[in-house]
């Protein structure tokens, strides 16, 4: 059962597109009015700060409400049973709230969804305890149906990510039971990631999966991250040493050459994919995985002193960014450099970062030895 009204979500999409096309002068004012009118009902979509408030207070309300219920009812039918009942009660409340207030990921519903999942956990723990099997993955396997049901009915992205990671954990745990499985672990994880990537990509192109759009996007991105990480030489080698208790320095792994090829080829693949499909997520992941690959290379073959690596990478990044900013003033290859709408979130983040930097350099000034100080404080300057 879908908890949110799908029509409202489609209406939201329709209105968004209509407004966009109107500002681009592709739709007349009458057409816009007609489109808005025929898609009049949209979900309540508050400002992001209101969402944060709703999430915080929703979470506290859920916790203390639970405490209150336990105080009144006591642990009559056992802790797990009462928790489950409370979870069910909150679920029916949530469904009514969603219907009445036309919520869709407005913060409070997200908080309650996480809370409800949490409320089912005591029962699963008891079941797991009663079975007396000391395999954590079995416990995770018990949780999986809950997560899948929630993802199906709510399409909540974080829960979808949790389900994806649970599946990953179960697969890895089973494979680690025998030596052959252990040896094949990286390949199995890459296949797991690839399957999820392909499936979510196919799904995202259909309108029947519109309801789960955000969840699909999150899992798709997570699959890409996993695909690179599972093939990365550093991850494979260090995890191999860790899992087999081989200590440090970690010994060379089998198929080392293959993993080096993965480490170098996958970023290129991502960048190419990002370019071909005009996909910003892939471009960003491509850039990040290049950084990861450089770090991997440097970890095992310290060819250059760190400062020269920084200077080199910095120059390449800055110069290419500068050149692209210049040349993309007019659209090329389906890309453009055009300012996006400023909003409060960006101002707030920018302000926090800048204020923090100023504070740091000023406290460095007050007698503390200067010198390498500018290196330490800089980490968070990204504008995301």
């Amino acid at each position: 059962m879908k908890a949110y009204n799908e029509t409202l979500l489609l209406n939201e999409y329709a209105q968004k597109m209509a407004k966009k096309w109107h500002t681009e002068r592709l739709l007349s004012a009458e057409q816009l009015a007609e489109a808005v009118q025929s898609h009049a009902q949209v979900p309540y979509n508050p400002n992001v700060f209101i969402k944060i408030g709703l999430f915080l207070f929703g979470y506290v309300c859920f916790m203390f409400g639970g405490g209150f219920v336990f105080m009144i009812v006591g642990e009559g039918g056992g802790f797990a049973f009462t928790a489950l009942l409370y979870g069910l009660g909150v679920t029916s409340l949530l469904l009514r709230l969603i219907k009445q207030k036309q919520l869709h990921f407005a913060g409070v519903d997200n908080a309650l969804i996480y809370g409800i999942i949490g409320a089912t956990m005591p029962l699963i723990f008891e079941l797991y305890d009663a079975l007396k099997i000391n395999e954590i993955w079995v416990g995770v396997l018990f949780c999986l149906p809950v997560l899948v049901v929630v993802v199906y009915s709510f399409g909540e992205p974080l829960v979808a990510l949790g389900a994806f990671l649970s599946g990953l954990f179960i697969l890895a745990s089973i494979l680690m039971k025998n030596p052959i499985g252990k040896a094949l672990l990286p390949f199995a994880l890459m296949i797991y990631a690839a399957v999820f990537f392909v499936v979510t990509r196919k799904m995202s192109q259909k309108s029947s999966t519109f309801y789960w759009k955000l969840a699909i996007y999150w899992v798709n991105t997570a699959a890409l991250v996993l695909f690179y990480a599972a093939g990365n030489y550093f991850v494979v080698r260090e995890l191999n040493a860790e899992l087999n208790g081989l200590g440090s320095p970690s010994p060379e792994v089998a198929f080392a050459g293959l993993f080096w090829v993965f480490s170098i080829l996958i970023p290129v693949l991502y960048l190419y994919g990002g370019f071909r499909w005009r996909n910003r997520t892939l471009l960003l992941l491509g850039l990040l995985s290049i950084v990861a690959t450089i770090l991997t290379v440097r970890y095992y073959h310290a060819m250059l002193a760190i400062e020269w690596v920084l200077i080199l990478v910095g120059v390449v990044a800055a110069v290419s960014a500068f050149a692209l900013i210049r040349s993309l003033k007019t659209p090329k290859f389906g890309f453009i450099y055009a300012p996006e709408k400023d909003n409060d979130e960006r101002f707030a983040i920018e302000m926090v970062v800048i204020s923090q930097m100023t504070q740091n350099s000023q406290s460095a000034e007050k007698g503390v030895e200067f010198g390498g100080g500018d290196f330490a404080g800089g980490g968070a300057e990204d504008k995301y």
Binding site: L10, Y13, M17, W21, E24, L26, Q31, E34, S38, F49, I50, G53, L54, F57, G58, V60, C61, F64, G67, F68, M71, K101, V108, K206, S207, R280, L287, I306, E307, W308, V309, G314, V316, A317, A318, A321, I325, L328, P331, G334, F335, I336, Y337, A338, D344, A348, E350, M351, I354, S355, Q356, T358, S361, Q362, E365, F370, G372, D374, F375, Y384
Partner: protein, 337 residues
């Protein structure tokens, strides 16, 4: 329905509009190709790449210099820093446009950024000179107020919000307060009543300037920075004062109430709901604290749980209905001018 399954949301929507005769056939094709070939903006990606590149480069140079300081010598380094600082300021000056009371649209893409670099370099240079030659001696006040004045001037002259936050942070550390939002709590010693009062006064000053700049139409778009930095330090200092045993709780409670009222009103007017969130969170903490202070201890062991659950429920209800309650106009945010 079977075709429905294989279509993307865009074609689905356009189909629907076509059937309702909202679109002509040509327009439908036009919209579909437009959407398929719309150029993707790499604004944030490229800007971040540029920032990251410059950051990495300067870090690398920093380490290089640090390792070779004996051969380079401090004086040469200070001279280099000074030249760089002056150069950046000169670039900013050259590309600047005349002062205006409103938001300035500067065509030079990197001017904003150069000013930020210039100011950061100035801070580093000043720290370096002080460490090496002890120029300011023990007059730390002068050393901190100098950048504050410079940054505030630059912020207004060149219309740079980032430099405004730098100036406000520097000014705050001149009076002895940390306003950097992540460190307001950890870096200020709120056991000291004098610091609390300073924090409240500083907050009031910033909020006052923020509100005034909006009212008097001088750099209206700066009020966000003023209110955010000032509001945070104001509310946190007032709360610290409220929690102190000196018995001035009533006064601080009044202050917080006034602050909440102001922020709610501001949020309503400017559609900047970060301030509504601040007012509600800080106000809620203060109110709850006062209630628990006043109430009988035996009672709140039982009542407490219920109170928190019910009151947070109330706040949720408020957030879900604030547009109606506060009569917020349901429209796009007015441009910052």
């Amino acid at each position: 329905m079977s075709t429905f399954v294989y279509m993307n949301p865009l074609s689905f929507l356009l189909d629907e509009w076509q059937q309702r005769h909202l679109l002509t056939d040509e327009q439908r094709v036009q919209l579909e190709t437009h959407e398929r070939t719309r150029p993707v903006s790499l604004y944030i990606l490229l800007r971040s790449l540029l920032y990251a590149g410059i950051l990495l480069f300067t870090s690398g140079v920093g380490v290089l210099i640090y390792n070779n300081i004996d051969t380079i010598g401090h004086t040469a380094l200070i001279a280099l820093l000074a030249v760089l600082t002056a150069g950046s300021f000169f670039y900013v000056y050259r590309t600047s446009v005349p002062f205006s009371r409103g938001l300035i649209e500067n065509e030079a893409k990197f001017s904003d950024f150069a000013l930020l670099i210039a100011c950061t370099l100035f801070l580093i240079l000043e720290g370096y000179v002080q460490w090496r030659y002890n120029v300011f001696g023990t007059r730390y006040g002068l050393a901190t107020v100098l950048p504050a004045v410079l940054f505030l001037f630059c912020a207004y002259r060149f219309d740079q919000r980032g430099v405004l936050s730098m100036g406000l942070t520097a000014f705050a550390s001149w009076v002895g307060i940390t306003v950097a939002p992540m460190e307001v709590l950890s870096n200020n010693d709120f056991n000291d009543m004098r610091l609390i009062v300073t924090g409240v006064l500083l907050g009031v000053l910033y909020i006052g300037v923020g509100v005034a700049s909006e009212r008097m139409n001088v750099k209206k778009h700066f009020s966000f920075t003023y209110l955010l930095l000032g509001g945070n330090v104001f509310f946190i200092s007032s709360l610290a004062g409220l929690f102190r045993p000196e018995g001035w709780a009533f006064g601080f409670a009044l202050l917080i109430a006034a602050g909440c009222w102001l922020f709610v009103n501001y949020a309503r007017r400017s559609q900047s709901f970060l301030f509504l969130l601040m007012a509600v969170v800080y106000g809620y903490i203060a109110f709850t604290y006062l209630l628990f202070e006043v109430m009988n201890e035996a009672l709140w062991a039982f009542f407490g749980m219920f109170y928190v659950a019910a009151s947070t429920g109330g706040v949720i209800w408020f957030f879900l209905n604030f547009k109606k309650l506060l009569k917020v106009r349901d429209e796009e945010r007015p441009p910052l001018r």
